[in-house]
Symmetry: D2
Subunit: 343 residues, 4 copies
């Protein structure tokens, strides 16, 4: 039962945190009828039995099959989506992948970071990187396959791209970022056990985290240009949701902090979810929303750019809905005006 100008959608992998956030957002979306949800681990149950506040009679299917849905939102572990997506595209569906499978353009980079050959390298070129504020939005309109960036990548790229593209920064960036524990997903692990994660703050993947490849790809200034050097260290914060990226770089010779601030303001002038703010943002001020708050400042002569997002909304499901809104010509904020719930 779809709105005249609307569409039907399925969420594949609906019971992880990103998938469940997509379900919440699509259920309240004025142009979308959610017609199918799937989850191998919770098959046969209703979403509302697993996530409080999700009111829907839809029952979780075991198989990752979108049924009749025109739009497929995929929230699966990497490697799995890549083998399913080609079939969905052949069936004429639009696919928004929250996972990592189609983010990197270079199959060698995929193999390097994910330890396996890419199952569908022929689609990498076509996949549109779903970070609307930094891409050619026209590409989204005709997109069959949108690869939504990782949560850390979203924060870091939004924090860096105006400087990069304006030629205002030396191509050597430190991205020190911290995430709430929901970023690790709903799967259990000792590091995410309450008694271990509470009262603790630690870095991880210090030698290199997979999202680094996405950041580096997005911060090339042109197709043939050298990649910038980015050093990215993620940290785990004892809180449920939110990411803050604290980014350090030097101004390119001659440019000033005022020019830099102007570049951010103008880059994000038409972007309803980006706020260039006057004070260091906390993650709490964007919790549950699709917003990204960015602060541009300087300590001595080094630039510090801070970007705060909600890792499950702007860092995952909200961004996918935003991309879908643009692709379909709906208002960019449709379904994204009010905060989500849980975890």
């Amino acid at each position: 039962m779809t709105n005249a100008s609307g569409t039907s959608a399925a969420v594949i992998g609906a019971t992880g945190y990103a998938g469940a956030t997509a379900v919440q957002l699509l259920l309240r979306h004025p142009q979308v009828a959610l017609t199918r949800v799937t989850s191998r681990s919770n098959a046969g149950q209703k979403m509302g039995a697993i996530y409080p506040g999700i009111e829907s009679d839809l029952e979780l299917h075991a198989e990752p099959d979108p049924g009749d849905a025109e739009v497929v939102v995929v929230a699966l572990p990497h490697g799995i989506a890549a083998s399913l997506v080609p079939g969905w595209l052949r069936e004429g569906r639009t696919v928004l992948d929250l996972g990592a499978d189609f983010r990197l353009k270079d199959p060698a980079e995929y193999a390097r970071w994910y330890g396996a050959d890419h199952p569908s390298p022929e689609l990498l070129e076509e996949a549109v990187f779903g970070l609307p504020e930094v891409i050619d939005r026209g590409a989204l309109e005709s997109a069959r396959l949108v690869a939504c960036p990782g949560c850390y990548s979203t924060a870091a790229i939004l924090a860096l791209v105006p400087a990069v593209r304006g030629g205002l920064a030396k191509p050597d960036y430190v991205v020190d970022a911290a995430s709430g524990v929901s970023g690790a997903g709903r799967s259990l692990g000792l590091h995410f056990h309450y008694a271990e994660a509470a009262e603790n703050f630690n870095a991880y993947s210090v030698e290199g985290h997979r999202h680094l490849a996405e950041m580096t790809q997005a911060c090339r200034t042109g197709p043939g240009d050298a990649a910038p050097r980015i050093t990215f260290v993620p940290h785990l914060v004892p809180m449920v949701r939110g990411i803050l990226a604290t980014c350090y770089f030097d101004l390119e010779g001659g440019s000033t902090i005022e020019q830099l601030r102007d570049a951010y303001r103008s880059a994000y002038a038409g972007c309803p979810f980006i706020k260039v703010v006057d004070a260091a943002p906390g993650t709490k001020q964007v919790a549950g929303t699709n917003e990204c708050h960015i602060h541009v400042t300087q300590q001595g002569d080094r630039v510090v750019v801070l970007a705060a997002i909600d890792n499950l909304v702007k860092g995952a499901a909200g961004q996918a809905v935003q991309a879908l809104n643009i692709a379909r010509g709906w208002p960019e904020t449709a379904g994204l005006e009010l905060p989500v719930r849980w975890p």
Copy 2:
């Protein structure tokens, strides 16, 4: 290498939170040489690789075998200790069981709450209930087998027994208790996943929790007397450690709150770890210690008794060390003066 008047000890199940707390306490105990630690899941590793701050060269054995240790501290899931303890007793060892297997005197009660026949019912009578403040301490001196009470039971029994024994309370008690997440142990579970447990407070086992049987047993006034009615509802608090029991009952006809307070003060007069305090205690004030802080007051004519403990110390490993100290004639506080670490 044991102190002249000292002993050697093993911890069986040393990598759960209760077991690891026992390891910490025994390593700093002046009269004990810890000679063996075991853990099926972490066999071959050293304790310090699993728990920061545990400095020891002891390697974890896979088998639950105490080696040459005279004293065996057991921190195993219920049902397992019961099959191992008889052998250790035959070998002449002293056993302190942190688990549930020997707490209940009546094998029918064990079967009712644990869903299986007791493997060694012949030992139930002999086992000494290891809550030193409420038992005949002489029994500990000759004990071969000490059954340390559950964490909730410790708080509730300490909060109720002076009223019960003084004949000051009507035998109808509500025990509303709340515990930090470490009470659920180190094993993973969705309810204990940080993103689920944080910003949440809930009751569980509302129809009946196993510790209720221990409380009821300890609150009989005499061998042939009727059991009191106790209603016990535990709650999960988003914090790492600590238990608060809030207990409600009515005074027995004619007795006064002053008499009741006197009964608590005199019952715990010689007890180094019990403090009868003048204000409602928070769990934080006993965190990491073997203390129990008790506050006795009244709302209208209903009595409210509050008891706060650390669930892993006074509620588990610290209490076992205290019992051992008494059994061996060492100072009751030996090894228990300073707080423990982790989780």
Copy 3:
């Protein structure tokens, strides 16, 4: 600029947590134009400068003056509203008071609990107790003054009233409740300092909390009937929001738990915000919403009823909006469908 069938509203005391929640809800309410916000401590600032996510050009007025607003939502410390409300009523406005001043019908009770004579006792009879699920809703339709109950009272009364009114419970109740720290408001205090409140759980106001008077008043079965005995002990939980009330009582002779469950289901049959649920509810499942989840069960022969709410929404501002919706004949859930933000 008010909707044809709509109204204009002011929030007096808009920068406390309850007031700011009211602002959030009224800004998104389809029938309400928020025309005035006041705050003595933040006068001259805009709401959005104090609360992220509150998008409004309204500037905070220093004086507690509702301007032209037809509806006045009051979130002031007790004692202050009582002196302002009579004037607003004379001006023909509708007043919804989130504070304590008009909740108790008996001025002697007010004096006993608040330590001062009531400034406007003549209004106490007229004031409608704003807990829509347990009052005569017709009274709301003509109400000039709605006294919204306290946060703990809301949870406890919803948990008890069906049993009370059905004559199914002995009139002796224990209400053990726990609240997140936002319940203490935005004013600073050492107990609410992060480093003190984290990793702590404690009872407070054990000898008697002001909300007890509201609960007792609401749990009388009839005008001339004796008050039931209620013992109410609140606790502070290291989390931001949410209240869980765990209520204990005995069935009146002959009644059964099935009858009791039926009484709850039928009492709340038409109530869009109340869910009688099959498992013990956690506060997280109602966080940010106007819902109350109630679970009715038994341990042995004692009844345990659990009720979970969000203290700032169903326990304060959301309930006021719900009452306003009913008073004006709007859909009961208008403006209350989606969660709020901050703190």
Copy 4:
């Protein structure tokens, strides 16, 4: 009552978190008799009434007067100690200042960061910077005045100095650090209110934090050498205690990560509190202790050094006790073997 080879000590400003930690440590110190505690805000009370677990009959004096104590540990806001210390030195006492007044050698730097002329500039040269692992320990032995470094400074300097002194690093460092809320002290503030600080992560003092001056001073390679460039951004973590410093720099031409690791291992070879560890440390593993865990690694060709400390122990009071131990020729770890309590 002082040990033959022992001393008497006073803590001035004993009820802040750093002061109270000093009290705890000195009460358990085998060579120290704590004879005086002072606190303007809590004068007349006993320490144990304010801090659970501090067992002492000492009553808090209102005046910052050390009485007969030979050693004075000062935990006062900056600016106040500087006016009191000269008198104490004239009286022949040894002063350990936990505050900022004597850390910077250059009075102009003090004026720049603290906004006032230094009250006792003549003492700046004499004051010994109390970070034992990086200074000439001989200087401590004859010291009258020890200026203990700030909490962030301790972590950052320990993380950088072996690289700096070995000539292994380019003199351009990013220090991204995060602290638990106790770092802000016991004074109230909206940012440290539980409901605001929980579920939030934010940077602050991004344009420049006072500890930067200490780091820069300590990372000069020689008296006449140029200062390195250090960019330091602190963050607030929703946890009670702990600091993690994540430091980024480049190797000086030709040097290798293996050389760097060797430099750290050899710099800290004789240091009982420093552990050069093989994995990224979490703050929880040092909570309550005087330890600093350092991990040296590389992402691509950029070095990342992580250092974790407890902000109140190694970052404040523990470090002062360690300095005192060295100054008096006692074992360096005396009184520092076991964890502290509260907050």
